[in-house]
């Protein structure tokens, strides 16, 4: 192991990330506002959805952790279940051009049809701006925002951080829990977890 390379690396980290630490959202605080263009060409503003629950799902179609939830149909089931209960569901793609998971609008539209996905919209974020606003680390990372515009959940989709489809059946789904508990007027028991998955492929990502 070449640990001698560690220290210059740390210095680089300090320089690169300092500006990004300022704006990141936290559970219990107001969800940062954003405006984004969806794959269907429409413009969506988060602020327009006050009064509704909003789910943000970070997506990368080449990531095996995302694949686990799409090949099994789990993500599509969640999307249908919750949009059927008036929840707004934004799939967000923060992969930079030429990086894994980057798609053009028409490629994403084809993917949505092929996978029978049913989000309210798939938002294209190739600059990573929305991803950084929410400090999204992985795909699939999930954020739940309540009708008052406050983040009530941020983290993993469930408690099985693997790529195995067989792990979905026995998993505790944190998005379901947060929405069910909040809609029942209860405290969200698990408001934050470590999101699992592939790193979000920002323009400056290296791994």
């Amino acid at each position: 192991m070449k640990r001698s390379t560690l220290y210059p690396l740390l210095v680089t980290v300090v320089i690169c990330i300092a500006p990004l630490l300022v704006a990141a959202e936290k559970v219990g605080q107001a969800a940062p506002a954003f405006t984004a263009t969806a794959s269907n060409g429409k413009t969506f503003r988060l602020q327009d959805y006050r009064g509704k629950y909003v789910v943000l799902e970070w997506h990368n179609n080449g990531c095996p952790y995302v694949g686990k939830h799409y090949k099994s149909g789990n993500m599509q089931r969640l999307q249908k279940q919750w949009t059927g209960r008036s929840v707004v569901w934004f799939t967000i793609i923060s992969s930079a051009p030429a990086k894994q998971g980057y798609v053009t609008a028409s490629e994403e539209n084809e993917y949505l049809v092929k996978m029978q996905a049913a989000p309210t919209a798939a938002l294209l974020d190739p600059t990573g701006e929305i991803g950084h606003l929410y400090d999204a680390k992985t795909s699939p990372q999930m954020v739940v925002i309540n009708p008052q515009g406050v983040v009530i959940y941020d983290g993993a989709i469930d408690d099985k951080p693997t790529t195995d489809l067989s792990d979905i059946a026995g998993a505790t789904n944190y998005v379901n829990l947060a929405l069910e508990q909040a809609m029942a007027g209860k405290q969200v028991e698990t408001p934050a977890t470590r999101p699992y998955g592939c790193s979000v492929k920002y323009p400056d990502s290296t791994h």
Binding site: M1, L9, V13, C16, C63, T138, T163, T193
Partner: protein, 291 residues
């Protein structure tokens, strides 16, 4: 004539079997390099045989293509550590992986902890004294491992090796001696007893202080638990005459106080120590009472 013929025909398969056993003995201590995504993995043993009533070490030796990595026990912001499903004969009881010091991977807002190029993860195994002598015991393991560069590929592979079980003091295998020596060199050590650590819970940060001499000019902390500190945040070192203070920004996902801060502390000169320090709330109380 008839008797002799049948004798020789019996002798041939016996000799053949003996030869096969010899070949297996020769190859025995080590498994084979098995392909995993962008690399190879081999199950290796430190000793040439298993000695009932004693412990020994197995190793998982990874060789990865340039740029690809696997993960530490706490993978950091993304990724996943490997998982082992052991297939060992009854009487052989595996312990947990003794993790070498990881590297920080990534230079952006996402920082992971893991290993590049080559690493050997060693695992202690205890052999019960009731284990019977046998010429060839099969030791197997199914490994699930995530291998990443910019993208991640999950791998699942079956490993095995055969070792005799003998009631004799074990002999180290010269072919794996260097691998195990290198692996042990990279393990974090307990901190010297006269070093005193403290951790203050200071609102948005944990402040780790130590009375370490000589003066420390570089320090990096790797947390053993996920989502305690912000992995990508700069770790701010203040060298002091009596030691140092290292400020670690808390994770945004840490919503409850923690009792202890556990992890690996790497100091100037690549000396790595395993530390487990109770967290005191003095600083936090002071801050709260002031506001």
């Amino acid at each position: 004539m008839k008797m002799r013929g049948s004798d020789s025909s019996r002798r041939f398969p016996r000799a053949f079997t003996f030869g096969v056993v010899l070949v297996l003995y020769a190859a025995g201590a080590q498994g084979a390099e098995t392909p995993i995504p962008h690399g190879t993995l081999e199950l290796v043993a430190e000793n040439r045989w298993v000695n009932p009533g004693h412990g020994f070490y197995l190793g998982l030796h990874f060789q990865l293509e340039k740029g690809w990595h696997i993960y530490w026990v706490n993978p950091g912001d993304s990724g996943e550590p490997l998982r082992i499903t052991w297939q060992l004969p009854p009487g052989l009881n595996p312990g947990v992986i003794e993790w070498p010091v990881p590297r920080r991977l990534g230079t952006s807002s996402i920082v992971d902890f893991g290993y590049e190029e080559a690493v050997t993860l060693i695992v202690p195994v205890h052999a019960e004294s009731s284990l019977a002598e046998q010429p060839l015991a099969r030791l197997g393991a199914e490994i699930r491992v995530l291998v990443c560069r910019e993208m991640c590929i999950p791998g699942r592979t079956q490993l095995s090796l055969t070792l005799p079980v003998k009631s004799r003091p074990p002999a180290p295998d010269v072919r794996t001696r260097e691998l195990f020596a290198a692996a042990r060199k990279d393990l974090p050590r307990p901190a010297p007893q006269n070093w005193k650590f403290s951790v203050d819970d200071a609102k948005d940060s944990f402040v780790l202080a130590a009375n370490v001499a000589p003066q420390v000019t570089q320090a990096i902390f790797f947390p053993l638990a996920e989502a305690q500190i912000d992995n990508s945040a700069p770790q701010i070192l203040q060298p002091l005459a009596s030691g140092f203070r290292l400020t670690l920004r808390k994770s945004d996902r840490l919503l409850k106080p923690i009792e202890r801060l556990k992890g690996v502390l790497v100091l100037s000169g690549n000396h790595a120590y395993l530390i487990d320090v109770p967290v005191s709330k003095r600083e936090a109380q002071k801050n709260n009472s002031g506001t």
